[in-house]
Symmetry: C2
Subunit: 337 residues, 2 copies
DNA sequence: CTGAAAGCGCTTACAG
DNA sequence: CTGAAAGCGCTTACAG
């Protein structure tokens, strides 16, 4: 049994399908009685307007495309929750796609979004390089990048304030009395990493602490990278007493590696993460970290996207502050040297 | 600048738009030269077919709707990753919606899916009651429930084998020498909970161990529920030496509460979870748990949905085996009593 | 207040 | 092998 169309309703109501269309869309032209009669019939017949037919004429789909590297990444998941909530409130739907960081997938995803004529696109914490930026802009719709480098003036962005948050995280360690503080980063060259590292170095400098190149080691954003990086830090002749990590995942891996070598956290080594994933409160020990308001950032991304869609030409890029959450992975250093 | 349509290509190629349509869709009717000429022009003009226009005539959208309670739930996120991967491989897109366990959201989501004419729907680990089942079936498309009760014969389901997996988990504790084993469940009445509890009791019975009603306490699927439940367990005059938890989240909360009261895990108390979330390896201590192949279950859900869509009337409900993963939250009990 | 007509961008019988 | 025509389910000027 096919779905009822506007024509079916028209027949039942003895009016033209134009009238049905108007009545259902709340046009003030139609008489109140006609409207309620038509609405009643539509309700009874389980009528649902066809979004496809409507968007064919309005050339809007009320859907937004969201690309994440992987929805299984807890950061992305929280952001997407915020996106979907905000979208839903405004009667937008979200088309979700994982790029898996594969260029061919990224391409395919954008094609799918183009064919489905999404009204706008949000890209979350992927590494949007120049090539992908080019591909994305072919979709000719507003694009909001979340925690991404913003390579082009055509793309709006929502970013955590990496510099200030990292400064505060490092400052926390310094205030505790640490003088030998290391930084485990992401893969080299990613903008967030550069900015977080910048905040770390600025805090060191402001406190008059020397910057030691051997205390700066790259990771890969995951626990394995954190573990490996911690390994090379622990091979140093002079160990750090504290480590600021690019993100929580990195910190989890780093803590695991340090514990495995018999170091107590925070007694021997303090650790700070970045993100405040849900699990940061359950790690061993609960992690001191910088909270990113992930859901709010997701919401903000859709709000700004919608403004862009509405033709607002002056939507400023958003810079969102982080918040230091002190838990049990940080403490004063053992000996004051 | 508007997107090129089939008519624009037709004009450029000096053919009718019917020919363009056929050439682009690979119809064998069109001569090879014409096909490649048209394809070339389409490529140059950045042509993308309009999914809306196509689905208006084919009445298929190549879109599947996915409802989760919350995408921020790591279980749901892993499942959705599997769903999206499998869908993408078959050139389907996924429309994602969070119900937040709110009836009005559930209703709205289904309406959105209906208007967008999704080809099928997957509902993940929500509590699909009779009312929602009714609402869902109004969409008149195939529905696959993942780890949900299957209230109607019209809905296909993919389920973890709760009974066997819980039996194995409890059996592991028994083999370790535990005789006083508690179970922290989900909210009362959920089917997964009933089945997991069933496996627990069957293992007890098979080992000749008495079932103690006071060792059976409900949670709520989250860490807070696990913590509360652990609290009431620890108030008992005779403590259990091991606790099997409904899921990992519950176990995390339970472990936290036990540790907070000075109990060593696993020295004083063994804990087993269910799910094997990514973080189970990073908890304090790393959690012994039952692994659900979440991504594969997601993939299976779309495979079966697509079979249903293809008109296959005999797609059997899937029962997926879990796998016990032994980590460090379980050990033999202290004193053999 | 209501209707007839055109058109959004496709696919697909029906003719040739 | 190709084209003209109809139609999918809507919205929206244009008339009345």
């Amino acid at each position: 049994m096919k779905r009822a169309s506007i024509k079916d309703i028209a027949r039942l109501a003895n009016v033209s399908h134009s009238t049905v269309s108007r009545a259902l869309s709340g046009s003030p032209l139609i008489s109140p009685e006609t409207v309620s009669r038509i609405r009643q019939i539509a309700l009874e017949s389980g009528y649902r307007p066809s979004a496809a037919a409507r968007s064919l004429v309005t050339s809007r789909t009320s859907t937004i495309g969201v690309v994440v590297t992987s929805i299984a990444d807890p950061f992305a998941a929280e952001v997407v929750l915020g996106i979907e909530d905000a979208a839903n409130e405004r009667d937008y739907s979200v088309l979700l796609a994982n790029s898996n960081a594969l260029p061919e997938r990224e391409l395919k995803v954008v094609h799918a979004f183009e064919e489905r004529r999404v009204d706008g696109i949000i890209v979350t914490s992927s590494r949007v390089g120049a090539v992908y930026a080019e591909v994305l802009s072919q979709a000719r719709v507003p694009i909001v990048l979340l925690n991404n480098q913003h390579p082009s003036e055509f793309m709006h962005s929502v970013m955590i304030d990496n510099f200030a948050a990292s400064f505060a995280a490092t400052r926390h360690l310094i205030d505790l009395g640490h003088k030998r503080i290391a930084y485990i980063g992401d893969r080299f060259g990613c903008q967030s990493d550069t900015e977080r590292c910048g905040g770390y170095r600025a805090a060191l400098e402001q406190a008059g602490l020397p910057f030691r190149p051997e205390f700066l080691v790259p990771g890969n954003g995951g626990p394995d990278g954190g573990a490996t990086a911690m390994g090379s830090l622990l091979a140093l002749p002079n160990l750090p007493t504290a480590v600021f990590c690019y993100n929580d995942m990195t910190a989890f891996g780093a803590m695991g590696a340090a514990s495995a070598r018999g170091l107590g956290i925070p007694s021997d080594l303090s650790i700070v993460g970045f993100d405040d994933l849900f699990f940061a409160q359950f790690s061993a020990p609960p992690l001191t970290t910088v909270r990113q308001p992930m859901r709010d950032m997701g919401r903000l991304a859709v709000e700004n996207l919608l403004k862009l869609l509405a033709g607002d030409s002056a939507v400023p890029n958003a810079n969102v502050p982080g918040e230091l959450i002190v838990r049990h992975s940080t403490a004063p250093p053992k000996e004051t040297n």
